[in-house]
C-alpha cells in the first residue's frame, strides 16, 4: 500500500513538473510571439510615418501650404517614439496601443497631404500666371512705348520749331 502511494506521489510530482514546464514554455513562447508581433507593428508604423513624410514633401513641392499637416506629422512622430520606448521597456500592450494610434494618424496625414496636393494642382500655377501677366505687361509696354515715342518726338520737334533764332552779340 505504501509502495503504491509513493509510486502515485512520484507520478503526480512528475506530471506536475511536466505541466509546469509546459506552462512556462507556453508563456515564454506567447511572450516572444507578443514581442515579435509588436516589433512587426512598430516596423509597420515606421513605414507609415515615412510614407506620411513623403506625402507631405510631395504636397509641399506642388506649392501646398503644409503647416497644419506638419503638426499632424509631429503628433505621429511622438506616438512612434513613445511606442519604441514602451517596446524597449517590454511594455508590449502599451506599445501596441500607441502603434495602432500612430498608424491611424499617419493614414490621416497621408490623406490630408493628398488633398492639399490636389488643391495645389487645381490652383493656377503661380509661375505660369506671373509669366502670362509679365508677357502681357511687356506687350502693352512695347506698343505704348512706340506710340509714346512718336508723341514725345513730335512734341520735341514742335518745341524746337517754336524757338526763335538768337543773334550772337559780338563784343
Amino acid at each position: 500500500m505504501r509502495w503504491l502511494s509513493s509510486c502515485l506521489a512520484r507520478r503526480f510530482s512528475l506530471l506536475l513538473l511536466v505541466f509546469l514546464a509546459s506552462c512556462s514554455l507556453l508563456l515564454l513562447s506567447a511572450c516572444v510571439r507578443g514581442a515579435d508581433d509588436v516589433s512587426l507593428k512598430v516596423a509597420e508604423a515606421e513605414g507609415k510615418v515615412k510614407e506620411a513624410y513623403a506625402a507631405v514633401l510631395e504636397a509641399e513641392s506642388f506649392g501646398a501650404n503644409v503647416t497644419n499637416v506638419v503638426s499632424g506629422l509631429n503628433a505621429v512622430a511622438v506616438l512612434l517614439g513613445d511606442a519604441n520606448v514602451a517596446f524597449r521597456l517590454g511594455d508590449y500592450g502599451n506599445a501596441s496601443l500607441l502603434v495602432d494610434r500612430c498608424i491611424g494618424l499617419a493614414d490621416a496625414v497621408v490623406a490630408e497631404a493628398g488633398n492639399l496636393k490636389s488643391e495645389a494642382l487645381a490652383r493656377p500655377n503661380a509661375l505660369l500666371l506671373a509669366a502670362g501677366l509679365s508677357g502681357a505687361g511687356l506687350a502693352v509696354l512695347f506698343f505704348v512705348g512706340l506710340f509714346g515715342w512718336r508723341f514725345v518726338r513730335s512734341r520735341y520737334v514742335r518745341r524746337v520749331l517754336k524757338m526763335k533764332p538768337e543773334e550772337a552779340v559780338s563784343s
Binding site: K50, Y53, A54, V56, L57, E60, V66, T67, V70, L73, N74, A77, V78, L80, G81, N84, V85, R88, L89, A126, L127, A130, A131, L133, S134, G137, L138, L141, G145, G148, W149, V152, R153, Y156, V160, M163
Partner: protein, 200 residues
C-alpha cells in the same frame, strides 16, 4: 536744350527700367538666390534655458532636468531623431572625427519634423535609482527619463583626478535619409557629465 539723340536714349532707358519692373515677379519665381550654409543645431541648456546650472552632482531619488533643442537650417522639412544614451568613462562615445555614433543601445528617443528655420526645444527630466557604492565603484541600476524607468546597470569607477563617480548622459542627433530610407547619424552629439554622489 537736350538733343534728340539724348532724348531717345533717356526714353529707351526708361522703357527698359519699366520692362524690368514688369518682369520682376516672374524673375523672382525663376531665379534662385543661393542660400547660406546648410546645417542642423543640437543643444542642451540648463533648467533656466541658459548655458548655466547644468545638473552635475546627482544622487538617487532626485529629479534633474536639462532643455534639449534642435534647429533646422537645411533648407526644407526634415525628420530628426534624438537618441538618449548613458555611458561610463570606458564605454564608447560618439566619434565626431569619423562621424560614427556610440555603439551603445539607446534608452529614450525623441522624434520631430522641423521646417526650414524652425527650432524645437523641450525639457528632459531624469533621475537615478538603485545607486550603491562599494569602495572605488559606484553601481547605478536604474535611470528614469521623462518618467520611464530603464534598467541600466552601469558601473562608474572613481575618477581620481576629478574626484567623483562620473556617468555621461548624452544625446545623439540622427537625420532621416529618404534615399537610404533610414536614419543616419548626423554627426552631432551633446552631453552632460554627471557625478553620482551619495544621497544626503
Amino acid at each position: 536744350m537736350i538733343g534728340l539723340g539724348d532724348l531717345k536714349l533717356v526714353y529707351l532707358a526708361s522703357c527698359v527700367l519699366l520692362g524690368l519692373i514688369i518682369l520682376s515677379p516672374t524673375l523672382a519665381l525663376v531665379v534662385r538666390v543661393p542660400g547660406g550654409e546648410k546645417f542642423s543645431e543640437l543643444w542642451i541648456l540648463g533648467p533656466g534655458h541658459m548655458v548655466e546650472d547644468y545638473p552635475h552632482n546627482v544622487s538617487a531619488g532626485n529629479v534633474y532636468s536639462v532643455n534639449l533643442g534642435i534647429g533646422n537650417h537645411l533648407g526644407g522639412l526634415k525628420y530628426y531623431l534624438v537618441y538618449v544614451k548613458l555611458r561610463n568613462q570606458t564605454e564608447p562615445a560618439p566619434d565626431s572625427l569619423n562621424g560614427t555614433p556610440s555603439g551603445l543601445a539607446p534608452l529614450f528617443e525623441y522624434r520631430v519634423f522641423l521646417g526650414d528655420g524652425d527650432v524645437w526645444e523641450r525639457e528632459v527630466s531624469f533621475s537615478f535609482d538603485g545607486v550603491s557604492f562599494e569602495g572605488d565603484l559606484c553601481r547605478v541600476s536604474k535611470l528614469s527619463i521623462d518618467g520611464s524607468a530603464f534598467s541600466v546597470d552601469k558601473v562608474a569607477v572613481r575618477d581620481q583626478v576629478n574626484n567623483g563617480f562620473y556617468l555621461q548622459l548624452f544625446f545623439e542627433l540622427w537625420l532621416y535619409n529618404a534615399t537610404a530610407s533610414g536614419f543616419q547619424f548626423h554627426d552631432r552629439a551633446v552631453w552632460n557629465w554627471l557625478n553620482v554622489t551619495r544621497s544626503m
